[in-house]
Symmetry: C2
Subunit: 338 residues, 2 copies
């Protein structure tokens, strides 16, 4: 099915701005079930790669040996809001490893969580890399280094075995050659990979379809997906769309967003994966577009559609708190493709 996905930003009766999205919906073999005009668009996987970057730790048995809880695994795949609960979870992982926030290479940025934000603004000495939305991923990377007996120092660099192993895992799950993936530096200073949207969708199809009856890789993917779906808050936090989507579908879908306008979703029942990218990198159109695409795929129940209505068409408010517009996704089957 060929689709066109746009998000219109309305200001009163005026079409003020427009986001164009590219999307790929694939099965585990990489077959395109649905997509926009350019489902092979190559872009950065950003934080949507996190479930697969976590794969080596689980697959090699280290997660079992350390006895990480589902919430701890979920935060290792998270882009969290830096709420007190997230910070505590990550600090606990580091403490078990005999490490501290000083060992994290992700840098500090202000947390999204309002309580944490107020805290770090009024207590500048409390600022630490634990608040970085990627601190859980970095704790997982440090755990992998510790588990394999590699130095933790420099774990964020492309040439460190932690990063090489994670890059290979991402490439394999998504069905692309690791050496074909252009590499850049992510917001949190670790390598970031570029691959086609269709390959990302294939990876999420595998994450969705994996079962405990499969091989070591499938068992690891199954465990990661279950951890994420059981603890959507750990993967994001209040108000984050990936968290909302998993919560409102009762953990039936697995979802993970990434910076620069990326959202990936796994549909376990149908063994499908979705990768959706705002061409311009904007985040604001992703929730409406993702919900609209799931509707188009007939994936949501009536109750879920109602529960997701605020994500489907967010209201735009101005500085005085007045409703001045809305953000609306439009999914069409282009005439030429009918």
């Amino acid at each position: 099915m060929r689709l066109q996905i746009d998000v219109i930003v309305w200001r009163g009766p005026i079409r003020e701005s427009r986001h164009r999205l590219q999307a790929a919906v694939c099965d585990v073999a990489g077959r395109l079930e649905a997509g926009t005009a350019e489902p092979e668009t190559i872009t950065t996987f950003r934080s949507a790669a996190k479930p697969f970057q976590l794969l080596p730790l689980v697959e090699r048995g280290h997660a079992d040996r350390w006895g990480w809880s589902e919430a701890e695994l979920a935060v290792m795949a998270a882009s969290h809001t830096g709420s007190p609960a997230h910070v505590e979870l990550v600090a606990g992982i580091l403490a078990r490893l005999g490490l501290t926030a000083e060992d994290l290479a992700c840098g500090y940025h202000e947390p999204l969580d309002p309580a944490s934000l107020e805290h770090v603004r009024s207590h500048p000495e409390a600022r630490s890399a634990l608040y970085n939305n990627c601190s859980g991923k970095h704790a997982g990377m440090l755990c992998l280094a510790r588990s394999e007996g590699w130095p933790t120092e420099g774990y964020q660099r492309a040439e460190h075995p932690v990063q090489a192993l994670m890059k290979r895992a991402v490439a394999e799950v998504c069905g692309v050659a690791a050496e074909s993936m252009p590499t850049g530096i992510d917001g949190c200073s670790v390598p970031v990979f570029a691959l086609p949207l269709a390959a990302m969708a294939r990876g999420y199809a595998r994450l969705a379809a994996a079962t405990a009856e499969g091989d070591a890789r499938a068992r690891a993917l199954d465990r990661i997906r279950r951890a994420m779906c059981a603890h959507p808050w750990a993967v994001g936090g209040d108000g984050r769309f990936s968290t909302v989507l998993m919560q409102k579908t009762g953990g039936r879908l697995v979802a993970k967003g990434g910076a620069e306008g990326l959202e990936c979703v796994g549909l376990p029942r149908r063994g499908l994966g979705i990768a959706l990218k705002s061409e311009d990198g904007a985040a604001r159109g992703l929730a409406p577009a993702t919900v609209a695409l799931l509707e188009q795929l007939d994936e949501l129940t009536a109750a879920e559609r109602t529960a997701l209505s605020a994500s489907r068409r967010p209201v735009v408010k101005n500085h005085a708190g007045l409703d001045v517009g809305a953000i609306e996704a439009v999914v069409q089957v282009p005439a030429a493709a009918r």
Copy 2:
């Protein structure tokens, strides 16, 4: 001249995101000198309308009667950073009018200026509508109401004569029928108008070409342009692109940006106006695209190009302060249009 304008966001070697821009370059008669595929795109004028919203106050002689300085006129056309100097300037205007920040309807938002931001965060009681980037425009609206003997209460509403008069001024300068302009509500709660980019460009051509030898309207436009070009900091502030562009061209160009990815520029020597809009509303591509378009129009000297190089290709830094990419505008003459 037919153009295609894109802005590419690079992350290392990866094209991570792309902004598409529409542009119109027009003369005072509205003749299209250059433009992208859709120069008649209708979108909101947002803060780029401010010089024309200020027109009635000047044209009717009120600015002279109050004896407003050039800096005071400039801040009435500003989207300022809320620096202490801006706040003081606007507070001074209100005091002369016998009004206070309580009379401003624009609401509060955090200022961009770092010193002011630190101040309002550590002194919540200091928060006021003076810090709103539109507070100067609102002070001008209050002045118009006072000058005409209209109530200041409710000056922000579409049905108030202040707003009706300003709407007519915007429509007339841009050469469109006021009743044809769809109206929404701006970020600061006053009406915002939608019109074609080519009409906005025509308005800026008139702002650029106006002289003191013309009629009352031309004299008012000339005075507003001179005030803006003489006080670029008052119109924006440190780091704001419109300010930078006016400063780096020694006040030869007049420029004013608007929310949702709009930049308008007047070229006095050639009597041309430019309106440039990021289709998706993003701000980050505007400076590179505007400088690239001015280069394409052969409007910048070699020294100005050098002075504007940081705006032409901004570096992207991550949370740890590493250079991880760049934002680059590409202006092309499409093959089909050559």
